[in-house]
């Protein structure tokens, strides 16, 4: 994590426990996240002030459910309307294919320099590495992403990528990598980044962005942002490539205002973002700026598999606001990198197992106390805790078996133990004899019960069972 280390630290979901342990022992990380999350929670609450939040969430959830219910038709409509508007549409089964499509589009133009607006889907498919390997430089232009990229890291939050860094650390990074003065003056650092990036915007051959909502009815790509780098990315370079997941489509233009209202308030507690950018085509004949060519790459990458299952389907409603992580007591303590996945926090824990398989991500659905905060704040009412439980069941082979890696956590001894418990609990006579015996033998109870006793003392069965106590109590009362 240290910016002075030249070795870049990498994180993987397989090492969740070790990474969580390290993060918990890092006071800087904990302080940075605590401060940021507290601020975001307060701002969100205040921003919904006079709104009927529950009715709005209901509408948001219904709009997303309607879009999913009609997904194949809407994707077809989106494609047809985009093409009619002059936006070329491409389809990719997975991240690798999407990377290849984008690289080939860049190569066909002889592009050497790509400037990027924030796109989590491009992070999901490791687009930057792919382009660099082909000799194409990909530079992030969102200030947070730019800083994270300078520091050779990945985003630790889906909305605020550099939230794990504080002002001093950022000042150091900019000083080391770009030669700015060491300072705590945020305006100075922002102005420096502005002028550094302006040169790069002018020089870029291609701009690559994500999409927040793709409107089927009009063939419009909507982008939400505050900085203006998204507008720069989609307007200045001669070619714009937008990349997004197939679930981002909505049916009507009128579906957008409620989702936008929910997104900006849930994400950063703003009543509105600075820019809402709606793109419906490349530069027209008489127009004087904007890209000559616009491409839309629609990526599946596991989404159509999630789509098959009535319960898992809810995962695809997500509008990527980040509120679930801001309110998650686990995320706040361990930070975003600990998860080792593109999407951290609750949404990551219900999404990444489908993308990476449960073999690699089996610890993520368990990285939750099921306190329910995520489900309560989710603007589109995704029942995140239920989905976490469902994935836990899948991981131990007790679900439908339709998640990659299902059953990876299944443990014969554990299954046998629960089977016996189930039998005991449904046979009262055996139960009473067993618990009485356990009470008598309580000295033999081991004090080390694996992970359970790492931070707790082992339970000791009482000498007299509750059943016996009640019996005695009743007897005393009737005797009296």
């Amino acid at each position: 994590m240290s910016i002075h280390d030249d070795a870049v630290q990498t994180f993987t979901p397989r090492d969740f426990h070790r990474q969580a342990h390290d993060a918990l022992g890092n006071p800087q990380i904990r302080a940075n996240f605590r401060k940021a999350m507290d601020g975001l929670m307060t701002k969100r609450r205040d921003s919904f002030g006079d709104w009927d939040l529950e009715t709005l969430r209901e509408l948001g959830a219904n709009i997303r459910m309607r879009a999913l219910a009609k997904l194949p038709e809407l994707l077809e409509q989106l494609e047809a309307n985009c093409e009619a508007n002059g936006i070329h549409v491409h389809w990719a089964e997975d991240g690798e294919e999407a990377c290849r499509i984008i690289r080939e589009l860049c190569e066909a133009r002889g592009a050497k320099a790509v400037i990027k607006g924030k796109s989590m889907v491009s992070e999901e498919m490791h687009l930057n590495e792919h382009l660099e390997a082909a000799g194409i430089e990909a530079l992030e232009s969102d200030l947070g992403e730019y800083l994270v990229q300078l520091n050779q890291q990945t985003p630790s939050h889906i909305i605020m990528p550099a939230i794990h860094l504080n002002t001093d650390e950022i000042s150091d990074i900019m000083h080391h990598k770009t030669g700015t003065e060491r300072t705590r003056d945020v305006d100075y650092m922002t102005a420096a980044a502005r002028s550094q990036l302006r040169e790069r915007f002018m020089a870029a051959d291609v701009g690559i962005s994500g999409v927040n909502f793709a409107v089927a009815e009009t063939g419009t790509l909507c982008l939400v942002e505050n900085e203006g780098n998204g507008r720069m990315t989609t307007t200045v370079p001669p070619m714009h490539i937008a990349v997004t997941g197939i679930e981002k489509v909505v049916e009507h233009l009128r579906d957008v205002p409620p989702l936008y209202a929910l997104l900006s308030r849930s994400a950063t507690g703003q009543h509105v973002t600075t820019y809402f950018n709606m793109i419906s085509g490349p530069r027209k004949e008489q127009e004087h700026d904007g890209p000559e060519a616009v491409h839309l790459v629609l990526v599946d990458n596991g989404r159509s598999r999630i789509y098959q299952d009535d319960e898992l389907l809810d995962t695809l409603r997500c509008i990527r606001c980040g509120a679930c992580m801001n309110h998650c007591p686990v995320y706040t303590r361990v930070g975003g990198h600990t998860y080792g996945t593109t999407y951290p926090g609750p949404i990551g824990s219900i999404l990444m197992p489908h993308m990476l398989g449960l073999e690699d991500t089996k610890d993520l659905p368990s990285a939750s106390s099921l306190c329910g905060a995520c489900g309560e704040v989710c603007p589109v009412k995704i029942p995140i805790p239920d989905l976490l439980v469902r994935l836990r069941r899948e991981a131990v082979g007790e679900g439908r078996g339709n998640v990659p890696g299902a059953g990876v956590k299944r443990n014969k001894k554990e299954v046998a133990a629960w089977k016996s418990f189930q039998w005991l609990a449904t046979h009262p006579g055996a139960w009473r004899r067993g618990t009485a015996m356990a009470g008598k033998l309580n000295m033999l109870m081991p004090s080390n019960l694996g992970p359970w006793t790492d931070h707790r003392t082992a339970p000791k069965p009482a000498k007299t069972t509750l059943h016996a106590l009640i019996k005695r109590h009743r007897k005393q009362r009737s005797d009296a």
Binding site: A36, G39, T55, E58, L59, N62, M65, R66, L68, A69, P72, L75, W91, A92, E93, S141, L143, G144, L147, T167, I170, V186, T190, A191, A193, R194, L197, M202, E217, T218, T220, N226, E227, G228, R231, M232, T235, H252, R254, P257, P258, A261, T268, V272, T274, Y275, F276, M278, I279, S280, K284, H288, D289, G290, L298, S304, R305, Y307, L313, N402
Partner: protein, 225 residues
């Protein structure tokens, strides 16, 4: 099978069967029932809360206020359109001033560096405003291209009080946006900003650091405004 066909096949042959789309009730995002005064009060309060500046003026006095803004902010080179009445009136009014008027109806390739480095402010008309969020609605045209409201350090926008709607939803419905969208449509709410450095707000990170709205009332209505 192409990726497209494979994806569509999976979506169409869904394991758990077809889904029923729920009904959507949009009443929560419309029907604010604000009076004209309330609407404008909302608009001003919201846009100033995000660092936008609002100057009240009238349709026959606004160019005088524009000149004041230009002087106060030491704007020497102003980029603006030519045909839109807002641009035409401003050009006429500033003819004799020492502010240099920069033409924007040229292909960006021919003047990109000039636009990025040597324009003090860009001025545009607006299609309307949104009271609830304090937003401006812009549909860039060949006369007023996309980058004019983004690249120069100051954006001056001219907004007619009559064109302010209550909500974003109302705006889309009232103007029939779904019938046909332009190449680029924008909502702008305040100057460019970031909080990426430890949640500290900073303005002008990529776009303008200042947004000035000249809010024009019809000359006869100024007394009631």
């Amino acid at each position: 099978m192409s990726a497209r066909d494979a994806i569509f096949k999976r979506l169409r042959e869904r394991t758990d069967g077809p889904l029923t789309p729920p009904a959507c009730d949009f009443s929560v995002v419309t029907n604010r029932g604000w009076s004209r005064a309330e609407r404008l009060e909302h608009f001003e309060r919201l846009i100033t809360s995000v660092h936008g500046e609002v100057i009240h003026t009238t349709s026959d006095d606004w160019t005088r206020r524009l000149a004041e803004v230009l002087a106060a902010k030491s704007i020497k080179r102003l980029a603006l359109g030519r045909e839109h009445p807002v641009a035409a009136e401003a050009r006429e009014a500033l003819k004799a001033s020492d502010v240099e008027l920069v033409d924007v109806d040229r292909d960006i390739e021919t003047w990109q560096r000039e636009q990025f480095e040597r324009v003090d402010a860009g001025m545009t008309s607006t299609g309307g405003g949104i009271a609830e969020t304090g937003s401006l609605w812009l549909w860039p045209t060949p006369d007023e291209p996309r980058l004019i409201s983004l690249v120069p350090p100051i954006h001056i926008a001219v907004l007619d009080a009559e064109s302010v709607e209550d909500t974003f939803f109302d705006m889309i419905e009232a103007h029939g946006w779904a019938q046909g969208m332009p190449t680029n449509a924008l909502l702008i709410s305040g100057p460019s900003k970031t909080a990426d450095i430890e949640q500290t707000l900073a303005y002008g990170v990529h776009g303008p650091r200042e947004l000035v709205v000249l809010l024009r009332y019809a000359a006869a209505q100024v007394a009631s405004a």
